[in-house]
Symmetry: C2
Subunit: 464 residues, 2 copies
């Protein structure tokens, strides 16, 4: 990157929001995936106008721009695929407005997910999507990746709650889409096209979110099974029974073993676990649904069924699920965490298929996930300095993607394509859809400056 260009960037955001210091560049080299690449400069714009001027400059000089929130992504979406500028939106972190009678919250992209929840709680409202990284991730990142989480089965994903956006386009033009209305069919749905586009079509600078009244009653139940297939079939039958639990998580035998051997969390014995939560405004509503769930659990011969009587007991049942990811991750130097998703009834096939595949590649792994919406997280552990292990991880992941797509599933339910799944887009999408996506990318970003190298779009031109 030329000195003159760096100077122009610095002039736009001011020296306090600009850095070439190694410590900053290195922290912008990574996200929560295994991908990494160092940018030339880091900037922290503080308002839409600065973002607009930065993109206008980048567009004119074919300068690569990698937008970034908290960097909690697991697919490399926030890692520069080649050098250039990282646009860190964390300093645009105002909750602009909370309008309870409109069911609307207006936020800047850098607002931390949990800060919005805290601000909404006194009104008895909440923002339903529930990403596991909620304590640190930003709402801009949630929108850019259409973040999911634990409560997708009942409450859907981020996309279902985005009513409108302010977006800076690749050439610096500022565009508003949608509105603070609960519904609109006025023109093309630019809002939802931008959601989940991983910063490749524009930079989100303001978000209008739909919010919901908080449910007051919650029931939590944990059940152990003799095998993963039985637990998987049980999930399908819970859905068929006519209730939609707010949480319906599954943990496989490996996850349970890891927790037994490497944590102090007390767990009943079993080879698979289901954690279910139901909710409502009233105890009766939460109970009715949990009774249905419990009946299905019993019909599928759950060995042990623990229902929480208090909030504290519920917290204890949640402990195993919450710890699963991090306890497993600590066993080996590195891991890949996938988020393959299938139609709900295919969860048993996917569970069994994943186990077979990863065992065949002789790698340690665990599987858990949001079975209620068909979304599983196989986490495969490996040593990144062992070339053979790295090769086996890649092969196992590819086999899992192939299986998922054969089952009518999708490569990614909530993490995004990023760099991690870019090579596999053709497994899921037909040639026509890929062609349309590429055309959309060219239309929105003709100089290919916005987050190149992601979602299967080539980085080559910009990295030259």
């Amino acid at each position: 990157m030329e000195e003159r260009l760096k100077q122009a960037v610095r002039d736009i955001v001011g020296p306090e929001n600009y850095s070439e210091a190694l410590i900053d560049l290195i922290s912008h080299t990574y996200d929560a995936s295994a991908h990494h690449h160092r940018p030339d400069v880091s900037v922290w714009p503080v308002n839409t106008k600065q973002v607009s001027r930065l993109l206008n400059l980048a567009h004119a000089h074919h300068l690569t721009v990698t937008p970034r929130g908290a960097g909690t992504g697991l697919a490399g979406s926030a890692v520069p695929a080649c050098s250039g500028m990282v646009l860190d939106l964390c300093r645009m972190n105002r909750i602009v407005d909370i309008r309870i009678p409109d069911r609307v919250a207006v936020v800047e992209p850098g607002v931390v997910y949990q800060d919005l929840q805290k601000a909404l709680r006194p009104y008895g409202f909440f923002f339903p999507p529930d990403p596991a990284s909620g304590k640190v991730c930003t709402l801009g990142g949630n929108v850019a990746t259409n973040a999911g989480g634990l409560k997708g089965a009942k409450y859907g994903v981020t996309r279902d709650y985005v009513l409108g956006l302010e977006v800076v386009l690749a050439d610096g033009r500022i565009m508003r889409s949608g509105s603070g209305c609960m519904k609109s069919v006025s023109g093309y749905d630019l809002t939802h096209l931008l959601v989940g586009s991983e910063g490749t079509l524009g930079i989100i600078t303001e978000i209008l979110l739909k919010i919901d009244p908080l449910p007051r009653a919650v029931r939590t139940t944990l059940a152990m099974f003799e095998g993963i297939a039985a637990a998987g079939r049980c999930v399908s039958d819970i859905i068929r029974s006519g209730v939609v639990p707010s949480v319906l998580e599954i943990l496989d035998e490996n996850t349970l073993k890891v927790l037994q051997n490497h944590s102090k969390i007390p767990l009943p014995r079993g080879k698979a676990m289901i954690l279910a939560e139901t909710d409502g405004y009233t105890e009766a509503e939460a109970d009715f649904q949990m009774d249905r769930v419990t009946k299905v659990l019993k019909r599928h011969r759950a060995k042990e069924i623990l229902q929480a009587g208090t909030a504290q007991e519920s917290e204890q049942l949640w402990e195993a699920r919450r710890a699963a990811g991090s306890v497993a991750a600590n066993l080996r130097p590195a891991n890949v965490s996938e988020d393959v998703t299938v139609p709900i009834s295919k969860v048993p096939d996917l569970l069994i298929g994943i186990s077979t595949i990863v065992r065949d590649h002789q790698l340690p792994f665990v599987v858990f996930g949001h079975a209620g919406d068909g979304n599983l997280h196989p986490k495969i552990m490996y040593d990144p300095t062992d070339a053979d292990e790295v090769r086996r991880v890649t092969r196992a992941s590819e086999a899992i993607f192939r299986l998922t797509c054969r089952l009518g599933g999708t490569l990614t339910g909530e993490h995004g394509i990023g760099m991690a799944k870019a090579p596999y887009m053709g497994l899921e999408h037909d040639a026509v859809a890929l062609d349309v996506m590429a055309a959309l990318k060219r239309l929105f970003d003709p100089h290919h400056i916005l987050n190149p190298g992601k979602m299967g779009f080539p980085p080559e031109r910009e990295c030259a």
Copy 2:
């Protein structure tokens, strides 16, 4: 349209699915709006392959194609803006699959909305969007216009339930988007871009819909108010109270007068009416929410509050709301029915503003609508043979659109832009958004053959 081209069209669909008969052309000249224009030929393709071949031909010969379902639209979206071919999808009407454990229904576009509901009921499931024309409208039309309805506040709109599509693009290529998964962030969201695009980007030939378990308990309450402003403020406060009724309808004084004078429906006296419905799996849940609603109704000094004790009583409370549109429509030779939508707290401002505007234009009107999601239906009656009345209707509509946009609202909450609102797109959308929409249209349909003259895209080239 040249004879050779007509022959080629007939060869694709067969003579049994092709017509130039006046009776067919005339029935394809209209929808439920005041717009009309006669096509050259009518076709009823029976499968995706025929649609693909028809578009391939139309693309090559720059032949205008107007897709159509049941023609219940109120914005002229299904009326040919210029001649050419009407593509009636009513014969592609198979319910392809119902997969309860996946929460998925797969349908062809010509399936009548109510037929899907009937097919789902034995399983205890339903498709939540609830358009008023459900008895006759088709799901393809619902998706193409992102249909709303009575239950938007709690259940959202059609877009929230479309998981995937099969679409034939303008040049005849067949594309699949989305999948039968509850969630996906794989590539751009082509599915939701197509939803609500009114047949201007592609022809929908198969739809994957998310379905929900049926709520079992319902409470219905009717309340009368001294004035529309009080009723409007009450709506805001119901939302603020932390419950989301499944129905929250409002009827203005004119609507009530029309019902009193021109129907036999027994109605309590009052100058505004609210009809609320709450639901849940349990009676307790429906009661809890209705108790909240009732408290707010009382706080706002509702004159009379009637709660249904039985399903039959509930049916009686619904009678006035159901009849409102048709009783009013019968008073004059013609009417326009708008569907302006504002942030929920602006409903009182919009109600009062609409009344003032239409009175100033000296036209008879009623206002009712889905206040719980900010969506009102001003219905203005006029005589289409009276040029001055027509002029006043147009002026009043434009003034209502201006007011709506000033209040942060949208031109159309559920009917679509079509021809009716095409001239007003600039009131709502900024120049950049309009520019992006036009670019998308060019990208998907370079020869501008798909439903030209709708959504603000020009018909001129094709009508030459």
